[in-house]
């Protein structure tokens, strides 16, 4: 069948059988799409239907739905299979691109229904494996392609739901950053969002400071604002320093609370001192740098010796800064 390039219903069936044995065989998936394209084309002579580049293929929505179900059934036990995720994307690509151009036609209604179904499917996969890399990257593609404000807003809530479920879910934090920046459309948080997101991160840090993600998120949003100080529609230095000082002071507050309630030494959480060093280095005055050097030395010798060379380098850099 493959050699003859027969692209019929029975060829389609055959690919399904092959895929049950080996769902990672990319050639089989490709051939299956060829069959679907042929069966979707208005010409009844399916053997002669040619498909060139994928942007010209519009699969029949019924066939799309059926195949999504098939892929979903196979995907169940193979949530990390690249080919299955790519198959979903390939089926939906043209329909979704059409949806993003706000025409309200039958295609659009069908398309939007499939959008919501797809987001539901991805959410289901994430219920079983909340850090599934393919699922998240596929979700980003759906949201970015449709590019509707209501979906972006919903996603903000979605990331919160997942973070609340597991504050250590780095994928959810990454998605949050992606969503707040509307894919890559917004180059930075506006100052109000930066402030509220910093508070959000600190809230989560308070629940468990031994968790890399919110610390990375917070320091990244502070660093991002630096580029907008005194820029055209940017922020003033004072406003930036308010944000920086709030993050610095609140980090200390949060860790004090942690120490009181757990009777542990907050410094043992190396993310804490690491973030303070970053913030003090941004302040850049001599006293801040000296304080940061102190923290770096503590990390090197006591709190994070596995990365001692890194901390030594940071301390040296800070000493150079003081000299300047």
């Amino acid at each position: 069948i493959f050699k003859k390039e027969e692209k019929s219903e029975r060829a389609l069936e055959l690919t399904a059988t092959c895929l049950r044995y080996n769902p990672a065989n990319y050639t089989t998936w490709w051939f299956r799409r060829q069959c679907l394209a042929a069966l979707s084309s208005p010409s009844s002579d399916s053997a002669s239907a040619t498909s060139t580049k994928s942007e010209l293929i519009f699969f029949n929505p019924d066939l799309i739905e059926k195949d999504l179900r098939l892929a979903g059934a196979m995907g169940g036990s193979n949530p990390k299979n690249y080919q299955i995720w790519y198959h979903r994307r390939n089926l939906l690509e043209n329909l979704f691109t059409e949806c993003s151009s706000k025409k309200s036609d039958a295609n659009h209604t069908d398309g939007m229904r499939l959008v919501h179904d797809e987001l539901d499917y991805i959410a289901e996969v994430l219920e079983n494996d909340a850090k599934n890399y393919h699922a998240w990257s596929h979700r980003q593609w759906v949201i970015k392609t449709i590019n509707q404000e209501i979906l972006w807003t919903n996603e903000q809530n979605f990331t919160n739901d997942l973070i609340v479920e597991d504050i250590r879910n780095n994928s959810a934090w990454n998605h949050r950053w992606f969503v707040f920046h509307r894919g890559r459309k917004l180059s930075h948080f506006c100052i109000n969002s930066a402030t509220s997101e910093a508070n959000y991160a600190l809230e989560k840090i308070a629940l468990d400071p031994y968790n890399e993600s919110p610390w990375n998120y917070m320091i990244a949003l502070v660093k991002e604002q630096i580029r907008w100080v005194d820029a055209n529609d940017g922020i003033s230095k004072e406003v930036f320093l308010t944000l920086l000082n709030t993050c610095h002071d609140m980090s200390i507050e949060v860790m004090k609370g942690f120490e009181e309630s757990t009777k542990k030494d907050g410094k043992e959480c190396f993310h804490y001192l690491s973030t303070l060093i970053d913030m003090l280095e941004i302040k850049a005055d001599a006293d801040s740098c000296k304080q940061a050097i102190g923290y770096a030395e503590e990390l090197e010798t006591r709190y994070d010796p596995i990365r001692k060379k890194y901390w030594r380098m940071r301390a040296d850099q800070l000493r150079d800064k003081i000299q300047e």
Binding site: Y26, W30, R33, Y86, R168, N174, R184, A220
Partner: protein, 309 residues
Amino acid sequence: MTTPNANAPPFYHNLHVHYIENLASKIDAPSSYEGAVTEHLRMSGIYWSLTALSLLVSPQQVDERMHLTKQQDHNPENVLKQRPSIVDFVFSCYDEKSGGFGGNQNQDGHILYTLSAIQIFALADALQDPRLTSIQKKIVSFIQKLQQADGSFAGDEWGEVDTRFSYCALSALSLLNHLDGDIIEVDMAAEYIASCQNFDGGFGCHPGAESHAGQIFCCVGALSIARRLDLLRDPELLCWWLAERQCDSGGLNGRPEKQADVCYSWWILSSLCILGRVDWIRGDKLAEFILKCQDEDDGGIADRPADMP
């Protein structure tokens, strides 16, 4: 760099050599389940096995034990033992239609397996094999056609885009000595990769995708080959992110809050080497972790201690 450690078992050199040798015949058996499910990526499997073995024994030994360049048995009576050499096998996976190599025979050309094929030829010292030089133009053209308008690379003619494929394209062309000369837009390729830098310093499979050690290796490797490491916005933040992957066990994880896994040793150490910061992690502790992942009965190394190799 590392010294023997009382906390870890020794390195079972010979066991690993045998493990790799036996893997080939085990997987080729018609009844092998693992063989069936990994059939489509056999090319890469072969490359990984050869590279590993090359670190353990001499090139001549690799050739003899794995039949890299010579057929297995010339005895015409011993039909069952007749097997082409690995190099012969690789050529049999060439897909005329696309111009690239497939993961196995009768598979469509794909950038992943094209790179693996070229890497195998390099290991076998076969880059000047006339069978290769005669198709070289087509291979280069296959790769060239995969570059998209934004500088990224697809995996095959119909396929997905992923920074892994950028790495494969640049590495393959570099090995074939075809990186200079306007075959692909190298700067655009590099700029696309740079656009995948994330807020935490790392790289994912597309712009905005979560930073992941494997993807970071591909991006850093690609930028290095393209000689555009200057495009790294914050190399120290990236190296810090990589250094943070070291867990208490000494092993490295691939993303924050995930388990250590031996494979990340390669992705992360290579990236740190390229960026000159390999001393930001403790090599001795990593070695300890890896040694504990060995199978002391049959050889092979698992993803973490006590798992199957």
